[in-house]
Subunit: 272 residues, 2 copies
């Protein structure tokens, strides 16, 4: 397996470029990429330092480094383009055609993606995160009238990370509620949830995967037995079906996918 | 101000495409875009439905809709390309040149970006989120030996969202610790932090912005007085400088920017 250097270069956080580059590179699974993200390349000096680094990587490995850039400033981009590498310009490639279609010059201003100081968006995001923390794991169900979404499932099926992710990424008000043994045995939606049925979304998981997750933290008690996992999951799914609660199986999903799927299926819209 | 329809189309979550499209569109501030993200376009049927929608938008507004796509499957992409719109292919545009440079065909497989089931990555992310929650707001400082980063600052300066964001986005173990009145008056780093000084990172904020944030939740007590905000921020910054703790001013930064800046300045690397 060959090794190839790859750089992700941005004048801001580099998060978007990193995700895009990762997605592109993963289409070449037979090549091992050594990838480095270089954020905040916003000065001639930083750009020149980086070119030195890229050129060294290229001459060391004997093949041109791949460089993925999202840079707004032309002079900085020109410096990177002068490196001994092959540059994929994730941003500027589209600006020309967009200017043509829109019959308008672009503003060429840095930091319009994550950098805008939008006080209202900031406040609603913080509000959403606080709400998710306040109503995590079945806490303070009396605030469910404020919730836009209530995630329900057995212990350790991914409710908390999903709630936090949705509050941070989309700014929506999410609570989560664990189905305990008693509630599972009741075979019906807990009282706290019935009134808010239309906001409830279920998570389920493969019992064997649940067992793995539980055993990583707790050992030897019935909570992390194969039987408990199997029974709880079956009971939870039965409750979802009986109460007609939409639910998804998270076993093969990342938190990003779980989040986007719930947003999509619930018809919720991002607030930030 | 003219209005223009824009669609972000993806066969997966659409998060990356959405961020990239947002970044591109923001370069044209004089146009009001009405943007819709359409995730999980992974079947001929979904693609055809979408084309109908795009064509309606174009004929309604009289100008071609802008369509940003990240689609791996050729047949689905062809359908979208047949719509009455201008398509910006954020993904395929680069695959051809990459295949040429790497002298290799791409795998053309969907879902390599967020979709890989990487059990180890999942576990470390969940572990990181749990750790951030467990050691939020000065809780359980006895676990600081496990922390990779300890975020410090006055109340409501953004510690919790930053910690959760870093744990979810980068999978690193982050704690956060609030500087209370007593500790601020001490003019030195609290005992709980001294032993872990090399992991400590400070957040500061403009006192007026802090006042706004505090007044949104609490009113009338000294905590949310202008004087308290000004004094606390000055004291915190003094402690950072005296103890030689790196710190950043978060007033004009989004959570993404705060996170990426801390990662960058601390030399930390993502674990997921």
């Amino acid at each position: 397996m060959s090794i190839r250097h790859a750089y992700v270069v941005s004048d801001r956080t580099g998060l978007t470029a990193e995700a895009m580059a990762h997605s592109l590179l993963s289409q070449f699974p037979d090549i091992r990429f050594q990838t480095e993200t270089v954020p905040f390349v916003d000065s001639i000096e930083r750009a020149e330092e980086l070119v030195t680094k890229i050129n060294e990587a290229t001459s060391q490995s004997g093949v041109r480094a791949l460089v993925f850039v999202t840079l707004v400033d032309d002079s900085i981009r020109d410096i990177i383009n002068g490196s001994n590498s092959v540059v994929f310009d994730l941003f500027d490639t589209f600006i020309g055609p967009m200017e043509k279609e829109l019959a308008m010059d672009s503003s060429h201003s840095v930091g319009k993606s994550h950098g805008v100081v939008d006080t209202k968006a900031y406040t609603s995001r913080i509000g959403a995160v606080n709400f998710a923390l306040q109503t995590d794991d079945g806490l303070e169900t009396e605030h469910y009238n404020q919730a836009e979404l209530i995630i329900v499932g057995v212990s350790r099926c991914g409710k908390t990370p999903t709630s936090l992710y949705l509050s941070l990424q989309y700014g929506i008000y999410v609570s989560n509620y664990p189905l305990t043994d008693d509630e599972l045995n009741h075979k019906r939606l807990p009282d706290a949830l019935i009134r808010h049925r239309e906001k409830v979304f279920g998570l389920t998981i493969d019992p064997f995967r649940l067992l793995q997750i539980r055993q990583e933290r707790y050992r030897g008690d019935s909570y992390s037995s194969a039987n408990a996992c199997q029974t709880e999951v079956a009971q939870a799914e039965n409750i979802f079906r009986t109460a007609r609660i939409p639910y998804i199986n998270t076993t093969k999903m990342s938190v990003e996918e779980i989040g986007a799927t719930i947003m999509h299926r619930s018809g919720l819209h991002r607030r930030i």
